[in-house]
């Protein structure tokens, strides 16, 4: 029979029994064997695995020195040569959740399988990133046993190197990663089955959650166009020839600032489009067919707008993920505000 899997448990100062907020400056420490909720975890792990050590730190100290504390915790964790790290459950304690996330990221980077547990609204969940597995926990310690059971179940699979299925099948919080898998029935059958279940009022599970989009209230309009600096931005994949910022033609996450300075129009070759979702021949022939710099310069010359902003913010939106594009939009808004831009025109393909 093979040896028991070695599990290290990460806790904060409270669950390690050191003390409450008054001890949240407690340094990163380690103790052999299980501590506090680790005793229950050890029991849940059963005969196949055991808690060989517990590493803990004060939440306050960790929050103020995250990088150093995570490195220190990792060193302590590695002294136990673990097959698995379980962090938390952090419930809805924000600093504890963030500490669990940081410890898990550090341990995972060092090659240790990790799982953490916390409430889905704990800021530590998004901070754990897309590679760390997080199982859901209640918002308080009443959900201790359930959370530890879920963490142990998934953690043992990770430690053994078993194939991990979808979030719904394995009971972890969705990380935004999709896996391809072969279905038993073809799409047509699954679609008809789903619609029949829907008609009969039976429960059914969609295969593709449609992202819900935030409603944005329209801002105050531009008060006086004649005094307004206007920017052109685009998702049309417009880049200088050679694509120096390595935009990809599909599912791109890059953006860059280029310049219209000194250009009254965009002749062929000023920009090219690397967008993979439309026929770029016409735009490459004459980039103003996308960006209309010639027209906006004329509007400025004729006094209809004050000026065209010289900075051109560019990305490729083909097949872009909403979250990614939202991030780009936020970055652009910051740039445009810095540049005193009052209105934006976004030609889209």
């Amino acid at each position: 029979m093979s040896a028991k899997l070695r599990v290290v448990h990460y806790l904060n100062q409270f669950f390690a029994g050191v003390g409450g907020e008054e001890r949240s400056d407690h340094p990163v420490s380690a103790r052999p064997g299980p501590v506090g909720p680790g005793v229950l975890l050890d029991k849940i792990l059963g005969g196949d695995a055991e808690v060989v050590g517990t590493v803990f730190a004060g939440d306050g100290l960790f929050a103020e020195n995250e990088e150093a504390c995570a490195a220190e915790a990792l060193a302590r964790i590695q002294e136990y040569a673990p097959d698995l790290l379980i962090a938390g459950p952090a419930f809805n304690a924000g600093r504890y959740g963030l500490a669990c996330a940081a410890v898990c990221r550090a341990a995972e980077e060092a090659g240790v399988p990790v799982v953490t547990a916390m409430h889905p609204e704990n800021p530590g969940f998004p901070a754990a990133g897309t590679s760390v597995h997080t199982v859901p926990a209640a918002d308080s310690a009443v959900g201790m046993e359930e959370a530890l059971e879920a963490a142990a179940r998934l953690g043992l699979k990770l430690a053994r190197g078993d194939k991990i299925g979808s979030a719904a099948d394995e009971g972890y919080l969705p990380r935004g990663i999709r896996y391809n898998e072969v279905a038993e029935l073809p799409t047509s059958r699954r679609a008809v089955d789903m619609v029949l279940r829907k008609i009969r009022g039976e429960p059914y599970q969609t295969e593709l959650d449609v992202p819900t989009l935030e409603e944005i209230a329209p801002p105050e309009p531009v008060a006086d166009l004649k005094k307004a600096r206007i920017a052109i931005v685009s998702e049309g994949g417009m880049v200088p020839p050679g694509n120096p910022d390595r935009f990809s033609g599909s599912r791109n996450g890059n953006w860059a600032t280029y310049s219209f300075e000194g250009k009254d129009a965009l002749p062929g070759g000023a920009f090219i489009s690397i967008h993979g979702g439309f026929n770029t021949v016409f735009v490459n022939e004459e980039p103003d067919r996308m960006l209309a710099v010639d027209a906006f310069r004329r509007l400025a010359d004729e006094g209809e707008i004050a000026e065209l902003f010289d900075d051109f913010l560019s990305t490729c939106g083909n097949g872009g993920a909403f979250a990614e594009m939202d991030g780009i939009g936020r970055a652009w808004a910051a740039e445009l505000k810095k540049g005193g831009v009052e209105g934006v025109v976004l030609p889209a393909t």
Partner: protein, 75 residues
């Protein structure tokens, strides 16, 4: 960008898509095309430039218009 308070208009030949995802200011430039929102290669170069000037003017004018939600402006 509109969330951050900067009026923004999308120029597109797919106004329904833009409206369905909640874009507030949309210029539907029907004479343009999916492949070139500010172009119309079927015109002579001179006529295309004049058409584009009109499209750019239509776009900036929407920035000064008050809208309550997704609104399509025709060009």
């Amino acid at each position: 960008m509109e969330r951050e308070g900067i009026p923004t208009v999308i120029v597109t030949c797919l106004p329904d898509v833009a409206r369905d995802i909640g874009v507030n200011r949309i210029v539907n430039n029907r004479a343009g095309h999916f492949h070139h929102p500010f172009g119309d290669p079927s015109r002579t170069p001179e006529a295309e430039r004049e058409w584009r000037l009109g499209a750019a003017r239509a776009a900036v004018k929407t920035l000064a218009e008050r809208v309550d939600g997704p609104t399509v402006f025709e060009y």
